[in-house]
Symmetry: C2
Subunit: 303 residues, 2 copies
């Protein structure tokens, strides 16, 4: 027995050492390295870079795998907290042009935690019912309840992106959304939601390669839409819109993170670490029993 | 290059052989082995059994892992079909007493597929708004859209289980639900939803052990509710209610499957296989392109 314990302890120590080595490939904290700041102009971003990270693909994949258990446990603590009257939740907002890899983040990062604790929503062109309400109506309806991790694949930010680029609203209308969105998010944060905003950037060349793959593979045709080329033709206008979005809506309570996404492995690593950081910061223990444990043990034994 | 290909082919063949060996541990098709039939009285069920399956825990876990990729690909085909105008969806309905392991199924089986394609809903005591509508209102609101796998943790069947056992409605009212539910499900099936109904059965002893674990581990207190003992005191009444539910609502379009759940690994294997079988039966290919592929390639190249 004690022999097994020692072996287990030895293995744990080795695992801990290996994990520390993997974590050290971050030269700065992921949240700090990726956080948007006023000198960062995404129109000059190297989408193939890995800010704050010194490792390669295999290091990055190993670190995601090594952090999966902690991510999963912290998600469960959040869920338990919500079940026990807590008010905390996490909202991951993903924005990015076509092929930036938002779906891959949901599959590979959000997929690491228990689906019972996730409220996922992809926002497309508003339905007739959605369009009959203000743009925040469908957003409010999809917000994570206490204890949940909400995931928005696109979001209210479309209101200052596609709406701006395609001229769907007059400039004075969409410009007013910046302040409205900041007020909305600050209300959310005050009510207990940690907002993790991630803008993913794919280069124009990499986007071409990814769209070409969809046209080359019959199992990917369904992901292709001729409209993607219309959006692609406005690539520069979208970057202008993204840049102003970052400038106007990266706030202390809900800062933006800029994730270069030409390396899929890096984007996945980055979002894993941002989500993990948000959950760690909640610093949640397990909820105490709201019943008399010994009494329940006795009653159970008799049952 | 050709050397690598041969090696890959050899490995594939070995993998295929290994998979076939694992699959052969099923002595009957999972759907047939687990499907409720009129001679099956759950009051005499061996909850520690593994009907139709000859393997052990490690075989079962290996088979789940080996089937994960196929499950995931078939889920993506279903999703692609839904995006391309298809009407098919899958609805997994999980019923079972406390500690039967419904949550574990969601975490470990549903967690194998892309969260983007899953609509999960746990039904608890109806909220005030829910209670103000008929019992199918909240169910209809949570049905999977085309292309999705819906997962119900508890469901409209509570209306003939807890409602019956706790006497929340007069007998003539809850008895009428059997036919209503059959009509409802047959409407769903006709509209394109494959319904996979799973009733999980834990023995009274195993339930005691699982509840005791929740009282022994502070990280599990939040899963314990003193009300669980009230339900446990009616264990026999619940089995009566389950038996009649099976007799009255196991139909050709929506048959019940009975899953003994004292072995968690078997319950997870069983539901993985039932879900896989349902997806295989849809026999979906990838949707064809609804645009001119060559034309789009040219336009993309010029963009």
């Amino acid at each position: 027995m004690s022999g097994r314990h020692s072996k287990h302890d030895l293995e744990s120590t080795r695992d801990d050492d290996a994990l520390r080595d993997l974590e050290k490939k971050w030269t700065d904290s992921p949240a700090r390295a990726l956080r948007w700041h006023k000198d960062l102009d995404v129109r000059g971003l190297d989408c193939n870079s890995a800010p704050g990270y010194d490792g390669d693909k295999s290091d990055g994949e190993e670190l995601v795998a090594a952090h999966a258990d902690e991510l999963s446990e912290l998600q469960e603590r959040l869920f338990a907290d919500g079940r026990s009257g807590g008010t905390r939740s996490v909202l991951l907002i993903l924005q990015g042009l076509d092929t930036a890899g938002k779906g891959g983040i949901v599959r590979h990062v959000v997929g690491l935690v228990d689906p019972q604790g996730v409220m996922h929503r992809a926002f497309g062109v508003p339905t007739a019912e959605e369009a009959s309400h203000g743009y925040l109506w469908r957003i409010r309806n999809a917000l994570p309840r206490p204890g949940y991790i909400g995931v928005f694949d696109r979001s209210h930010y479309e209101q200052v992106l596609v709406v701006r680029v395609d001229g769907l609203e007059p400039e004075e209308t969409w410009r007013a959304h910046y302040d409205e969105i900041n007020a909305f998010e600050s209300e959310l944060a005050a009510a207990g939601t940690t907002i993790v905003k991630v803008a993913m950037f794919v280069s124009k060349d990499e986007q071409k390669a990814r769209l070409a793959e969809r046209l080359d593979r019959p199992d990917k045709y369904w992901k292709y839409n001729p409209g993607d080329l219309k959006t692609r033709a406005r690539f520069g206008d979208y970057l202008d819109a993204y840049q102003e979005m970052l400038e106007r809506t990266s706030t202390d309570v809900a800062p933006w993170h800029v994730v270069p996404a030409d390396k899929k492995w890096f984007a996945r690593l980055a979002v894993t670490e941002l989500l993990l950081g948000a959950l760690r910061a909640l610093d949640l223990g397990w909820p105490p029993a709201d019943f008399d444990v010994e009494e329940q043990k006795t009653l159970l034994a008799e049952s």
